[in-house]
Symmetry: C2
Subunit: 270 residues, 2 copies
């Protein structure tokens, strides 16, 4: 896999699917339908149902590795990623792992994401600095946490350094430095639309992964208005629970309907 | 497991073993001896050899999950942790995972560390703030990254907020807030002894996990002089590669000799 597969796939996908929507794969067996409920061995089956029902509507899929790791379902995550690559090969895979460690260990996490799971991009944490990100960047695309969607994200991220919030310092480092080293994007929560606008102004055309619409309450219209590039693309807007556990007799059809509604809400604001 | 098992075990272990040394389990099959070399299925066997050869010399063991995840060896990590709990039940297990994610996902990572692997403590990243740490603290002990041992750790961690470096802001939050919520310790690299002294002054008697002696070049004497509490304890000084891959005809005996030398170098400075 080349280090630029992610950007290339994502750009092509924005054009061909006409969608900014990313479906997050957060499989919680307690919320599975019917006979799958509370059956951790059904995780891959559930995810594949969702993937096949929504693939034509999305610009990316984002499996969250914690849901698999908590129950020892790494083999099912391998199956899910392999399914996307083989059956929906034009849709990039973002492994949401938020890894962050020093050199040798970071290289092993890169191996986990890119070799074992065949992800096109992996989310990483910037706290340890550039030398903790470089081992990922030299192997594939990284999406660095900038301003996260949780209520307490400002506690450290918004502290001012020479008058500039830490998250803007991260954004500027991404734009000025990391983007020269490889394929880099940033995570900015939908729950902070003003910060999303500031970050877009700092990073130019860099892709932004935006979690927090759907169950977390972020507004799709504000996200697009504040975060999209002038060409209307540039955003990977993630929704997980609101799509995976949409109400309906058939879980795959319900997920598809919820994905269409979110895709259309995003497109209406472009 | 109670949320205070880690502190209790650690305090008892400092007294009974008379050691500040933590052996880090970073199993790299390319460096395994003899017939185990390059055999990823030997990871548990290699780790157990090291554990049994050094358990009486340590205050803790610290498996680094990336070494297992990179090669799909999670089941072997379960075996290693189970071996420590059953055969060396007075030695606490620190899962070095550096996790950091928002609420629901953090709770799943806590489940991974405390339920699946039975760790007594897990390392976490502070970038997402208190609400990302609370789901861990409510389940077990956390060791929060403060000032990491890598060369570039100052890039964000040393940026000044109201005149105070970010890592000191993290240390103060740990001392004032997180310590009231549960069992909290901090990670401070042996490669930054002056910062170690500053952090010790901020956090009082809080335990500090100190990686970076051994292969990374940190000085045991400076670590103890700057980081130990007045009672001579308070430190978990990690060495991984310098012990695991010590030269000698018998890898377990060589690891034991290296562990004794490091333990004694630390004790000589107390």
């Amino acid at each position: 896999m080349s280090a630029h597969d992610f950007s290339r796939l994502l750009t092509a996908r924005w054009a061909s699917a006409g969608s900014l929507l990313c479906v997050g794969l957060d499989p919680d067996p307690a919320r599975f339908p019917g006979a799958m409920r509370n059956d951790a061995s059904s995780i891959a089956r559930f995810c594949i149902d969702i993937i096949d029902a929504t693939a034509d509507l999305v610009c990316a899929f984002k499996p969250q590795i914690a849901y698999f790791a908590a129950v020892g379902a790494e083999a099912q995550l391998e199956t899910v990623c392999e399914h996307i690559r083989s059956q929906h090969s034009d849709v990039p895979i973002i492994l949401d792992a938020k890894r962050g460690d020093i050199g040798d260990t970071a290289a092993l996490y890169a191996r986990e994401a890119f070799d074992r799971y065949g992800a096109h991009a992996v989310t990483v944490n910037p706290y340890l600095g550039t030398d903790s990100i470089e081992p990922f960047l030299s192997r594939g695309a990284v999406i660095v946490l900038c301003r996260t969607s949780n209520a307490g994200s400002g506690e450290f991220q918004s502290q001012r350094i020479d008058g500039v919030p830490l998250y803007q310092r991260v954004a500027r480092t991404a734009a000025d430095s990391w983007s020269t080293m490889g394929d880099v994007s940033l995570v900015v929560g939908a729950t902070y639309p003003e910060e999303l606008r500031e970050i877009r102004n700092i990073v130019g055309d860099m892709p932004l992964l935006v979690p927090g619409v759907g169950a977390q309450g972020g507004d799709p219209e504000a996200v697009v208005r504040n975060g999209a590039r002038s060409d209307g693309n540039g955003l990977i807007v993630n929704s997980s629970r609101a799509i995976l556990y949409a109400k309906g007799d058939d879980h795959a059809l319900a997920a598809r309907a919820a994905a269409i509604a979110t895709r259309d809400a995003l497109n209406a604001a472009r």
